[in-house]
């Protein structure tokens, strides 16, 4: 067999495995991301296929899992990250981002402080230096807007009053990513703190420019990309995304951020058709990114960091619940709704892995970071949705306990007829008109 046929067989086997895992995830109603990671762990370094070679002196050089496709999977997973962020950008229009930011900046800052710090402290305690602290802080900070939107839709909670609160916090987080990733890139590139601060300044400037340009010239950019034929449209969008991502990478702004900002600038009907066209491609390349991340994580490095991962998961689940609870209370939501908002935010997923992936590929970090991120994301991507499902019951129980000492007062401080005394103010604040 020559290399090409071998490569086709290997790639086919991997995709088939991912398909099976994805089907299983869909059947039990969970996100496929943790299963892709698990699949990668199983078939990669130190997994069931390559685990027999326990001699650390030889396993690096001689037994490289799926060596014939390593070049392809490496590039494919880079494209996966670009597509993940491009699609994230396409989800939002510049106007939505600005409105969302206005509604949620306070909650967004609370979220940032409460959830970045635990990771950063853990990174520092583990002795991973400034870059490690920033990496781990980012991993624990960023909730998964993709999984959360899906879970809320599945649970029929899109009409709930606390849902806009959750979504606008996610908007803040996603925009924060656009500033965070360039800083991370600079730090991982071994640049000094001063250079990191410079990167931060450049990133803020670029994000501001893109938002202004997106608000003013969104239709023009969309028209430039739009095309009546699907093929040419696909080629134009994908080509532009990779070009912008590559240029952004060359300018040290981080490839993913370039794609994200391009996605924001494209809006309206063009963004809608681009989402439809790119979704299958994103699914394919992102799946390869997750499985490759799992493959490059040696399961034997998991046990030493497992305790840290679980501790971090517990602490940052609590801090996310606190964030959601606080934000929902400010918006005039009742006790049960505050718990629902908090629980939804605990879900971490794809972007924590994207951050860990950047750290690993830069080579500046100990490989432990990928093991820690894998264990962390796998626990919260599974526990988070379950917690969200049962948050209603937890919240009601909490509301009952609150109401008992208060006596005549109703559970959430509402009028007895169940009307939200402050409901209008809530919706008015978020309303467009």
């Amino acid at each position: 067999m020559n290399t090409t046929t071998l490569a086709l067989i290997e790639l086919g086997a991997i995709l088939l495995l991912l398909g099976g895992l994805g089907r299983f995830a869909a059947r039990i109603g969970m996100s496929p991301v943790p299963l892709y990671l698990l699949g990668g762990l199983a078939i990669g370094y130190g997994g069931i296929l390559f685990g027999r070679d326990l001699n650390p002196m030889t396993h690096d050089s001689e037994l490289v899992p799926f060596q014939d496709i390593s070049e392809f999977t490496h590039l494919a997973s880079e494209i996966g990250v670009v597509l993940l962020l491009l699609m994230l950008g396409l989800e939002y229009s510049a106007r939505e981002l600005v409105t969302g930011m206005r509604a949620s900046w306070r909650a967004g800052l609370v979220d940032l402080v409460l959830n970045f710090l635990p990771g950063a402290v853990a990174g520092w305690l583990l002795g991973w230096g400034a870059a490690g602290a920033v990496v781990l802080g980012g991993i624990t900070y960023i909730s998964s807007s993709g999984i959360i939107a899906k879970v809320l839709g599945d649970l029929g909670r899109l009409g709930n009053r606390e849902t806009p609160v959750v979504l606008s916090i996610l908007v803040f987080e996603d925009l924060a990513m656009a500033v965070y990733l360039p800083v991370l890139t600079a730090l991982l590139g071994g640049l000094t703190v001063a250079a990191g601060a410079q990167a931060l300044g450049v990133a803020l400037l670029v994000v501001a420019i893109v938002l202004v340009v997106g608000l003013r010239f969104g239709p023009q950019i969309s028209r430039f990309v739009a095309s009546p034929e699907q093929e040419t449209f696909l080629l134009k969008v994908l080509g532009l995304a990779l070009l912008v991502a590559g240029l952004a990478g060359a300018l040290q702004v981080s490839a993913g951020v370039g794609a994200f900002l391009l996605g924001i600038a494209i809006s309206g009907a063009t963004a809608h058709s681009a989402r439809d066209l790119l979704e299958p491609l994103r699914d394919l390349f992102a799946a390869l990114f997750f499985v490759l991340f799992g493959m490059n994580t040696d399961p034997r490095t998991l046990p030493p960091v497992l305790g840290w991962a679980l501790l971090l998961a517990l602490v940052t689940a609590l801090t996310k619940i606190a964030t959601g609870y606080w934000a929902a209370r400010r918006a005039g939501i009742g006790t049960a709704g505050r718990w629902r908002a908090g629980a939804a935010l605990t879900i971490r997923g794809e972007f924590s892995i994207v951050i860990a992936g950047l750290a690993v590929t830069s080579g500046a970090m100990a490989t432990d970071v990928s093991a820690l991120a894998t264990a962390y994301v796998m626990s919260l991507a599974v526990i988070g949705p379950v917690l969200t499902r049962y948050a209603d019951g937890i919240g009601r129980a909490a509301a009952r306990r609150q109401s008992r000492p208060a006596g005549a007062q109703t559970a959430s401080g509402r009028a007895p007829d169940g009307r939200a005394a402050d409901g209008r103010a809530t919706d008015g604040e978020l309303s467009l008109d």
């Binding site: 899109l158 009409g159 849902t163 996610l170 978020l430």
Partner: protein, 159 residues
């Protein structure tokens, strides 16, 4: 009636009205075009007891069903001074022989002396439809006539 609109970044928007009992009822319109009907819970006004995805046709039919009584009431008001005349709404069921046929085929006026004054379809009202108007399943016909005429009209339509 005030319609409250709340943007749902990344998903679409929510449009709702407040009912007399304090509940919210409305829709979540997703950006990909599909609609979800939402009804809030009495017990927890933040939560929803129902969240039902609707296709375009389903949403339009529901809209027609909801808007027909209002039109009937208006017409009733208008000819309140003519004794013996009433207005009824009738839904064209899937097993009606007139599905896909022009309105003229029913010969409604000749057979019952009742008139089809409007057809509500997909949320829009088609006033005074002519004999060439093609009927479709789920159309809500607004018919004006005597009680006897209306009874016969109902028989003819559901034959």
């Amino acid at each position: 009636m005030t319609v409250y609109e709340t943007p749902l970044p990344g998903i679409g928007s929510r449009k709702e009205i407040e009912l007399r009992d304090g509940r919210r009822i409305g829709i979540v319109s997703h950006r990909d075009g599909h609609t979800e009907l939402i009804v809030s819970s009495l017990e927890d006004p933040d939560a929803c007891v129902a969240s039902v995805p609707l296709s375009h046709e389903e949403a339009a039919s529901l809209g027609a069903l909801l808007s027909a009584p209002r039109l009937v009431a208006q017409l009733e008001d208008e000819h309140a001074e003519v004794p013996g005349i009433s207005t009824r709404q009738m839904v064209l069921a899937s097993d009606s022989p007139f599905v896909g046929e022009p309105l003229g085929v029913t010969r409604m006026r000749t057979r019952t002396a009742a008139s089809i004054v409007a057809v509500i379809r997909a949320g829009t009202t088609h006033p005074s439809p002519g004999p060439e108007f093609l009927l479709e399943e789920g159309d809500v016909l607004i018919i004006v006539g005597t009680n006897e005429g209306l009874r016969r009209a109902a028989e003819i339509l559901s034959l």
